[in-house]
Symmetry: C2
Subunit: 230 residues, 2 copies
C-alpha cells in the first residue's frame, strides 16, 4: 500500500434560498458567495468556507466558517459531497468537504451583505474560484432529484404553505413553469400534503388554503447521522 | 479565520453483496472486511481501504485499495460520506472519504478470501477498527431508504431478474419477509419494471418470468459527477 500523504482539508457551504427574480416570471434559487481576499483566486467569488482546524468536527467547521463570512446560521447543514481532484487547487492539494442547506427567506435575510459578500442567482454565476462552479452545478442537480421525493418545500417555506408557494419551489428547482391545475392535481393525489383547514391571514378575496406535509408519509432524512435537509 | 491544519486523508469502501444465509430463510447482505496488520487496531477487522497518495483522485484511490486488499473491481464506486470526527483514530486525525458499491454475486466471487480477508453478514459484524461499525450502519440505512426509489435490484442482480429475485433484494435490504402476492401487486402497479416476455431457461415446470427495469422511469443517478450505484 502507498503511504498516505498529508493534504490540506477545507470545508465549503452551498446555501440556497428562494428569491424573486426581476428577470423572470418565477422565483429562482440564490446563493451567497464570498470574495476571496488572498491568493489563489484573489478577488474572485467563492463559496463560503475555510480550512479545517485540527480538533474541529467537519460540520462544526462548516457552520463556523459560514457564520464568520456571511452571518448565516442555518438550523442544520447536511454533507453534500467531498471534492478532492488533485488539480483543483493550485499550489498544493486541498480536499474540500462540502455542506449544504436550504434556508427560508427570513433566515437568508440575516446574511451580512457587502462588498465581499453577495447573493447570486444560481443559474447565472460568474467564474468562481477553484472548482466551485462545478460544486454548485452538482448541488443544483442533487436538489432537482431531491425535489421529487422529499419535503423540500418545508426547508424553503416553513411549516405551512400554500400550493402556489409549493409550486414556486418546484419551479425554481426544476427551472421551468408548471401548470397550476396539473400541479394541484399531482400534489393532492400524492397524499404528501394535507389541508390544515386554515387560510392565509389578511387576504381579502378567497384567501388561499394552507397546507402542511403529511407526517404519516416518511421523510427522507439523514438517518443515524442526524437531521435532514429537506 | 483559523489556519487550516494538515490531516491524514484515507479512503475506505463498503461493498455489499447478496448471499444466502444458513441462519435465516431469506438472503442477507454481506460485505468483505480486511484484518489489520498494523497499529492502531492491529488484528481487528476493518473496511478495505488505505491512505490517499498525493496525486491520486479519491475514487481511484478507493478502487485501487479495494483491488489490492480484496481483488474486487466493481464497475463503479459511488461516494457515500466523509467521516472526520477528530477522535475517530487514535494517534492523529484521519479523515476518511468512504465509497460504496453493490455487487452481483459473480463479481463478489472474484474476491480473494483468506486469513486476512473475509465476508461477514452486515447485521452480525464483530467490533471493527476505528468507527467502521458506524460507517456500515450508515451505509445500511442509506440502502434501506434507497431501495424505495431506485433501481437497486439492477446493481445486485443484473439486467433481467425474476420477481422472486427482486423480492430477495428487498427482503435483504429491509431485513424483513415480504408477502409474495403483495410484493408482486406493488411492483406491477408501480410501472418500474416490465415483463421481458422471456422466462428463466432450464426450469421444467412453469419457469418464472424475467423482468427488466422500465427505461422510461428515470433512475436516480449521480448526475454531473458520473454513474450511479443503483
Amino acid at each position: 500500500m502507498t503511504a498516505p500523504a498529508q493534504a490540506t482539508l477545507a470545508v465549503s457551504t452551498v446555501i440556497f434560498a428562494l428569491r424573486s427574480d426581476a428577470e423572470s416570471d418565477f422565483k429562482t434559487l440564490w446563493l451567497p458567495l464570498v470574495r476571496r481576499t488572498r491568493e489563489p483566486f484573489l478577488g474572485q467569488w467563492a463559496l463560503p468556507g475555510g480550512g479545517l482546524p485540527a480538533g474541529e468536527e467537519l460540520a462544526m467547521a462548516a457552520a463556523r466558517t459560514l457564520r464568520e463570512t456571511t452571518g448565516l446560521t442555518p438550523k442544520y447543514l447536511e454533507q453534500l459531497y467531498t471534492f478532492g481532484d488533485p488539480g483543483r487547487s493550485p499550489g498544493g492539494r486541498v480536499v474540500s468537504v462540502v455542506y449544504w442547506a436550504l434556508v427560508q427567506s427570513d433566515e437568508a435575510a440575516h446574511a451580512v451583505v457587502g462588498d465581499n459578500v453577495q447573493w447570486f442567482p444560481a443559474d447565472r454565476l460568474p467564474d468562481l474560484a477553484f472548482d466551485h462552479n462545478r460544486i454548485v452545478e452538482y448541488a443544483l442537480w442533487r436538489l432537482r432529484t431531491k425535489v421529487e421525493y422529499s419535503r423540500i418545500a418545508h426547508a424553503f417555506l416553513g411549516e405551512t404553505f400554500t400550493l402556489a408557494q409549493l409550486r414556486d419551489v418546484h419551479e425554481a428547482v426544476l427551472q421551468k413553469a408548471l401548470d397550476p391545475a396539473n400541479f394541484r392535481r399531482t400534489v393532492e393525489s400524492s397524499g404528501t400534503v394535507v389541508d390544515t383547514g386554515e387560510r392565509v391571514a389578511g387576504a381579502r378575496h378567497r384567501p388561499p388554503r394552507l397546507y402542511r406535509y403529511n407526517d404519516s408519509v416518511r421523510a427522507v432524512a439523514l438517518g443515524p447521522l442526524g437531521p435532514s435537509i429537506g
